[in-house]
Symmetry: C2
Subunit: 591 residues, 2 copies
């Protein structure tokens, strides 16, 4: 294609609000434009990349035996009511009414539609297993669209749904999909980690993995063990149960780990723990202020957090140096939503302002993190303004009825799986997620089959997503430098950028046209910069667009010489046009 007619309006500067490198460069390279917040137009170059990503996804899905189909975006609200998600999905679900005032959702995902489709056609175990997939535009009304295509409200997604007769079959399908995902991301040139994850709004009973493309801009944090293969999304990463404190801590001595719930310890009556006592702490509302005022460490303090789980208030206790994990609390309570209570709500529910809450005398149900339960004596709010309590003893001064893992893991935490490693943190972009749904949807929507014994059972389902437009951004995040994008061959919008320095020079143009034809005829995708621009502009644009190979045709064209340069290499070489064509074919064959 000739660049003079290509619609790729490059920019010298990207809008200042573009924080992510991929967002900046895709804008600057004339590949995307914003139509509304979180809603983008993919211009021709980006569309070429997306079609190649799609094709890789399609080939690998087909290779697993999955069948492509296309379900509608307009989904009757009744289906979402059947699954129970119409309320639960919240404001991210785009809702609308048709001219007859019937309610519809605009598909963010298709579990309901596919389950209803299959239930109507599924009769016997003989029809199973089966996997269906589609590559489609999805809609999700994100609260905070950002980072260009990374968190958009309209995006391209591949979603697959599997149907098996039992957990073993689902396990096999899940493993095949996991392998297909590894191949897809490798072919697209994206470095990913598969991590244990939370099932979120999709739900399901059988576990889930996310595929995280490592990138500093990533909105997710992944925790990996320095020793074993453990890797999990931070929101899901297990925090190892803490070692209980000794009654009288002694340097260098470690006690064995004990059961979570601290029992009253007999045989220690000789040296009773001191009673809780009030300390006056005006102005000490934060952990830092309190630690300073009380001359204590953050890990000696018990934080009390009030949250609303599906609207019902609970108090969560974590150590002063720890953070509450909303996901873990939600999961323990089986709640669809969890919100931290605002100060007014806290005051209304407890009669005490934020900063002075404590577990002693607390009327709300208490959820106690392992690390708090393991404390000997701690400092906590007194439940009245300007006062805290010290020598608060878990189990004595407040009940340990609900102890569990309610905090976020921290870098340096001991690995929850092995005895040797500790957790390291990385930032990642979620580019895919796979779920063992089990019977979550099939039971609710009555998608059943008759087994060989003639009994009716719900079908076992899995679902498997890849964010195709997000993948475009992930490739850009992992493949760029300061001058622009550096596309991997397999997904590059064009393979070769032929740049005649002066389009008015007939010798240069003849050489360029000849090379263009030779390459194009052999199936190489060539962009020729036939624009009447200064060489500096052309080279800057070429670096920005990031086509893998650049052939500059300049003054030595008369001698049959051109400059060959790969975008990801610093050096270039002056070679004959034939040699350049050979090198391109060689480069193509290894890609």
């Amino acid at each position: 294609m000739r660049q003079s007619s290509l619609f790729a309006p490059t920019l010298r500067e990207a809008p200042s609000e573009a924080e992510a490198a991929s967002h900046r460069l895709l804008l600057r390279a004339g590949m995307i434009r914003q139509t509304a917040a979180g809603v983008y137009t993919y211009l021709p170059l980006a569309w070429r990349v997306l079609r190649k990503l799609e094709q890789i996804v399609r080939e690998e899905m087909d290779r697993t035996g999955a069948q492509e189909l296309r379900m509608p975006s307009l989904q009757p609200a009744e289906l979402w009511q059947e699954s129970g998600r119409y309320g639960a999905y919240g404001p991210e679900l785009v809702r609308l009414r048709d001219r007859h005032d019937r309610e519809f959702a605009l598909g963010p995902t298709h579990e309901e539609v596919v389950t209803a489709l299959v239930r109507d056609e599924l009769h016997s175990y003989r029809q199973l297993p089966m996997t269906l997939y589609q590559i489609q535009t999805k809609f999700r009304d994100e609260r905070r669209p950002r980072y260009g295509l990374l968190r958009g409200r309209e995006f391209l997604m591949k979603d697959a749904y599997s149907f098996d007769t039992g957990w073993d079959g689902l396990g096999d399908t899940y493993r095949r999909m996991h392998e297909a995902y590894e191949r897809i991301f490798r072919r697209c040139g994206v470095d990913v980690r598969a991590v244990e994850a939370d099932a979120g709004a999709i739900g399901g009973e059988g576990g889930t993995h996310e595929f995280m493309a490592l990138a500093d801009i990533g909105e997710d944090t992944i925790a990996t063990c320095s020793h074993c293969g453990y890797a999990a999304n931070l929101e899901k990463a297990e925090a190892r149960a803490a070692v209980p404190e000794k009654e009288e801590p002694e340097e260098g001595e470690l006690e064995e780990r004990k059961p979570e719930k601290k029992e009253p310890e007999e045989g220690k009556a000789a040296k009773p723990a001191p009673a809780a006592e009030k300390i006056h702490t005006p102005g000490s509302r934060t952990v830092e202020q309190l630690a300073e005022a009380a001359g204590a460490r953050a890990q000696d303090i018990i934080k009390t957090i009030v949250a609303l789980a599906d609207g019902k208030a609970v108090a969560i206790l974590v150590r002063g140096d720890h953070e509450v994990s909303e996901i873990k609390v939600r999961s323990r309570l089986g709640a669809a939503s969890l919100e931290l209570a605002d100060p007014e709500t806290v005051a209304r529910l407890t009669g005490c302002p934020v900063g002075y809450l404590g577990p002693v005398g607390m009327k709300l149900p208490l959820l106690v993190d392992h690390a708090v339960a393991a404390m000997n004596l701690g400092i906590a709010g007194a439940g009245e303004p300007d006062w805290h309590l010290r020598n608060v003893r878990p189990g004595r001064d407040f009940p340990l009825d609900a102890v569990g893992d309610f905090r976020q893991a921290q870098a340096g935490d001991a690995c929850p799986r092995c005895d040797e490693g500790s957790l390291r943190f990385y930032r990642g972009i979620e580019v895919g997620q796979i779920f063992k749904l089990g019977t979550k949807y099939s039971a609710k929507l009555n998608a059943v089959f008759t087994n060989p014994e003639g009994q009716v059972e719900p079908v076992l389902m899995g679902c498997y997503g890849i964010g195709v437009s997000r993948l475009l951004s992930a490739v850009a995040e992992q493949h760029h430098d300061e001058a622009g994008l550096i596309w991997p061959w397999a997904v590059a919008p064009f393979h070769v950028h032929v740049v005649p320095v002066s389009v008015r020079d007939e010798v240069q143009m003849a050489a360029a046209e000849s090379l263009y034809r030779t390459l194009t005829d052999s199936g190489v995708e060539v962009l020729m910069d036939d624009r009447e621009e200064r060489p500096g502009v052309k080279f800057k644009d070429a670096d920005l667009l990031g086509i893998p190979i650049r052939i500059v045709i300049g003054k030595q064209a008369g001698e049959g010489l051109v400059e060959y340069k790969e975008r990801n290499q610093a050096e270039s070489a002056v070679v004959t046009a034939e040699e350049a064509a050979d090198r391109i074919q060689a480069r193509r064959n290894v890609s």
Copy 2:
């Protein structure tokens, strides 16, 4: 692919509400399923056909130099307000609000979005001409979804938008698109007629053509001349101005055509036309009743129709044997909408019930069709219940201030273009439409460029649509018989259907597997019916699915013989497997 794992649930009977053959057969062949009224899931076989249709469209668009991109479905309402269509598009536009209560339209078409995109990037005539296109899911909240994919609320469409510096350039682009459309439909195997059409809600100043696939179920009527090349959508087809009646009609004598508006004729005072007189016509509300009661022909009667043009009432006069053309009236009045008034509204506006309305003394503005204006004396309502007037004389008894073509053309009408032909009618399915928009959108959205003289001008636009999912139905309408579908090779879901009669017969299965591999390796797409079903079921399904070539492998497999049959031929032949493979390759090469 093996049919035992193909998700193509065939049906013996189609739901009785499926009126169109394509709808019935696509349902029965397990190719589509309805998710909501006018909203369908394309199952794997249909999706394969759609992808081939898409690819043909894409190749021909690329061949014209158009560039593919992808614009979003979520369109900010502000853009539609800028173009003035947010109100005018009516309830067919799907509207929604996001979580911040901002209004969006769900794209039925993308003139606004593409014009806004281009205006931001367009500076100079040097960037023109340019054509952009996309193949995308569109949304239109049809009042009455019907005929399966023919009139759906969510559908696949190719929409292209061209940008030129002037009308000449637009004319060239339009002609190239017209030619591309002819190639696309030919390659898809669809017989179409390009006809003059109405621009509808898209609008524009430069004319428009529809591409009509001939089919009995078609919702449009097209009028073509028996002699010249004239062809138009009935709603647009011109009705030739009628020859004025003679004062005293005489058998066999023809008068020359006269100007439309009848002038008072001098020199005829000797024989004045009789005055209008009331006749008592209780119960004669329809043309038929009145003709019977008054002993007259339908063409002697003047029908008076009250309609609301953008809410403003007008009375339209057409002959008793003619029908009002809403499109022509709307176009004459420059109105965005035209509705026939209901009986209550008619009574309120005129003080007279429907059936007795007449032009004499009518207070509403009168639009008089040519054929009425050409009448000598006619019969019309008297404007009071149970009475009509006879000897009503146009121009004498009511004014001829607004005479024009306000009726639908009729089969047998003289051709409006040539002197020899008459109009014939056919039913058609609109599968594409192309428009010269001119500056309709660029002027409103300020998409301008600087011309070589340094002056700023609005860009000239065209737009070009193809209903891709509708095209699937059109192919099915034109290619089927009573037993099922008959796919043209270029868009068939598979090319060859290999049907071993008994999957338990090892010889048959070995022959089938061998042929399957041979064909698949050579790039032929093969579906193998490896299901354990009775031969009758397999053959019925094969006819229903309509794959172009069927190879039955039965008892003669041991002798190396198979049955070769083309779906569109009655006869079959018993040949060797090698001969069958050769015939398939030969068939492929001519397709």
